[in-house]
């Protein structure tokens, strides 16, 4: 083109016109990455496609961990169930199975989360947020008519995994071989509990570590289809971590756990493929998609760099995702359905293996059957009406998404290297570093909301008077059923062989001092002898230390 000086090239012309018309205040995502207004081949030109992107099911797994992704198998639609008594759980779970769910996601009552039997807590608190299961008899009722080998069991069962022990005894009773059981110990990542979710934190740091190692060894030996450890970024992000921090800290924990097992003499290829991940999905849509793509790539790279792992099966970053409870609003609650849909979409476009969508009433109640149904139907709409699952990793090749994926990987690597400098995740958590970083991010985010730099619809913008909102009443367990459960526990305790229970608990206590005994095997034996959940946790707390995050921390909160 002959150039008389008036003709600009298109990029320069756009730059000039952009500068004239745009709002030029800088924009950042939640991880603090500055976002450009436009991404072009000058940001990502595809020249590193083979090294950084590749094909689904191949290194570095950016596009997905399986070759066929959702064309082979869609993500599993997991819903959490937990309310009231074992009878309530069983009724609701059977309904869920009848509507096509193949997974059981068991949420115990808060008293169980804290390691107590119901007779140790105020009846007012029993069964309000989860199901109270204390004994083998309770577990029989909860799982009545459910074929244990046919469902995937999501056990929200923190260390020392007493509920799984009850399931194992029940399986033995029914003649279901342990090898047939599939599922996940969803709440085995005690570091995440120590730093960001104290309700699940039961034993001291060292005690939790011993139990986890023996749990991994036990399941590797007897339960080849069981995932003994899900490493959880969800707690941290819900507590305030940015998506990049949540990814970095979670991978740091994962590296710590792999190292723990390797140092105990295990071959990484015997267990790493059964480690899974669990992440939160915030409203920051593209950032979340990039977080998941970056997570897959980074995990495969870290395992190769640090442990020399080459087996493709071990390099797969399998994860479950849950929409964000803290992003839900109490104000105008039906708006939450839109939020959940956006977050669910991000997880699907990010290639999740499994998804939980929150019910819209979770900002003020335990979900009702109706709100839970809407949440699952949101997934069905995404999956079967919208066509978003038709093409694998459909955002790949977007200049923006690829650049953001690179930047999220870089940010997460920075987090991991700071944790490395502190001696790894166990020490970084004990020193209070992780908690303090998460706290800072939580404060910064809240400040942005307060200054209306971050819009929350219905909260700091487009508010309506309270009375125009509709909120269903909270669900409560039937007090008569709760009272009956107290009676059942009393009868159960009276009807067992006290000598066998005493001996089994004594053996469990002894196992804590003897590394030759697998602690988890001793725990399953105690469950078989008739020990209750609370008795098993108490025995281990006495020997291994009661987990008190505020006292164990070495730094300042």
């Amino acid at each position: 083109m002959t150039n008389n000086g008036s003709k600009l090239d298109p990029a320069a012309q756009w730059q000039a016109e952009y500068a004239r018309t745009a709002d030029k205040r800088p924009r950042c995502n939640r991880s603090g990455i500055v976002l450009k207004p436009l991404y072009t081949p000058s940001d990502w030109d595809g020249s590193r496609y083979a090294e950084d992107v590749g094909y689904p099911g191949q290194e570095p797994y950016t596009r997905g961990i399986y070759p066929a992704m959702y064309r082979g198998r869609e993500w599993s639609r997991r819903m959490l169930i937990g309310l009231g008594t074992p009878e309530d759980f069983n009724r609701r779970q059977k309904k869920m199975l009848a509507t096509g769910t193949t997974a059981v996601n068991f949420i115990p009552c808060n008293s169980v989360f804290r390691g107590y039997d119901i007779d140790d807590v105020d009846p007012l608190l029993v069964g309000t947020c989860g199901t109270a299961v204390n004994t083998l008899e309770d577990m029989r009722i909860a799982m009545d008519g459910i074929e244990l080998g046919d469902v995937s069991l999501g056990m929200n069962d923190p260390s020392p995994f007493t509920l799984l022990a009850l399931i194992l005894v029940l399986a033995k009773e029914r003649g279901t071989p342990w090898e047939k059981l599939s599922g996940t110990s969803n709440q085995a990542d005690f570091i995440s509990h120590f730093v960001a979710n104290h309700m699940f934190y039961r034993l001291s740091l060292e005690g939790s570590r011993r139990v986890l190692l023996d749990h991994i060894v036990f399941t590797t030996k007897y339960m080849p289809r069981w995932n003994p450890l899900s490493i959880v970024g969800q707690h941290m992000q819900q507590a305030g971590a940015t998506p990049a921090q949540a990814l970095g800290f979670t991978l740091s924990s994962a590296l710590y756990y792999v190292d723990l097992c390797v140092k105990a003499g295990m071959d990484p290829d015997s267990f790493v493929h059964r480690f899974t991940f669990f992440f939160d999905i915030s409203m920051s849509f593209f950032e979340e998609v990039a977080k998941f793509r970056a997570g897959r790539r980074l995990w495969a790279r870290l395992l190769k760099e640090r442990f020399g792992i080459r087996n493709p099966v071990s390099l797969r970053f399998k994860f479950h995702a849950q929409t964000s409870g803290v992003d839900l609003t109490r104000q105008q609650p039906l708006n939450n359905i839109a939020r959940v849909a956006v977050q669910g979409l991000a997880a699907i476009l990010g290639g999740t293996q499994s998804l939980h969508t929150d019910a819209y009433d979770e900002a003020f109640a335990t979900p009702s059957p109706e709100t839970a149904r809407i949440a699952i139907q949101t997934q069905n709409i995404l999956s079967e009406e919208s066509g978003v699952a038709d093409v694998i990793d459909p955002l790949c090749g977007s200049y923006y998404i690829e650049t953001l994926t690179d930047e999220m990987e870089q940010k997460a690597r920075e987090v991991i290297s700071r944790v490395d400098q502190l001696g790894g995740m166990f020490e970084a958590a004990r020193a209070g570093y992780v908690q303090s970083e998460i706290g800072k991010s939580a404060n910064e985010f809240q400040a942005r909301v307060e200054k209306s730099q971050q819009t929350v619809v219905g909260v700091n913008k487009y508010q309506l008077p309270e009375e125009e909102c509709s909120r269903a009443a909270a669900q409560r367990p039937d007090p008569d059923l709760i009272a009956a459960q107290y009676d059942r526990l009393r009868r159960y305790k009276a009807g067992r062989s006290q000598i066998s229970v005493g001996n089994a608990l004594e053996y469990l206590a002894r196992a804590t001092d003897d590394k030759q005994i697998n602690l988890y095997e001793a725990l399953v034996k105690a469950a078989e002898a008739g020990a209750t959940h609370g008795e098993m946790v108490k025995t281990l707390r006495t020997k291994l230390g009661f987990g008190r995050p505020h006292d164990e921390i070495a730094g300042v909160l």
Binding site: N110, S111, F113, R114, V121, D122, L124, L125, T128, C129, N197, H198, M199, F200, Y201, Q238, A239, G240, V326, T329, R330, Q331, A363, F364, A365, G439, A442, N443, Q446, E450, V456, G458, V459, N460, R471, A473, A474, R548, P549, H550, D551, L557
Partner: protein
Amino acid sequence: MDSSLKIRVLLTKIGLDGHDRGYRLVATALRDAGMEVILTGPWLKIEEVVSIAGQEDVEVIGISSLSGDHLLIPKLMSSLRAAGMADVLVIVGGIVPDDDVPPLEQSGVARVFHPGTSLGEIITFIQSRVAMQRLARE
């Protein structure tokens, strides 16, 4: 009472839950607003709350409840009254179903702050209520 005296606040959790993002945020905001904040860990027993509140001579107790523990608050209120601390301002923050608010208020809770409340609103509420109480005591 000297109105320039710093307001002393006990922020705590009772019962079983451990979610702590909320009350840690509130603690930071109250400190930034010039208050003395005693922040405890979770799972305190009601007797422990009463005893710390007495020892620390607080004018305000904030209870954070995210998962059902608010049901114990009426018991806390009677224990405070029994210990002669009926004048301590008790506020609650977190997830409290609508139906549960009136019983809490009837038991003497000054205010339940729901999700989405601005930190500024909590600060203003505490400052104005404490100022009124101090005037009333003079």
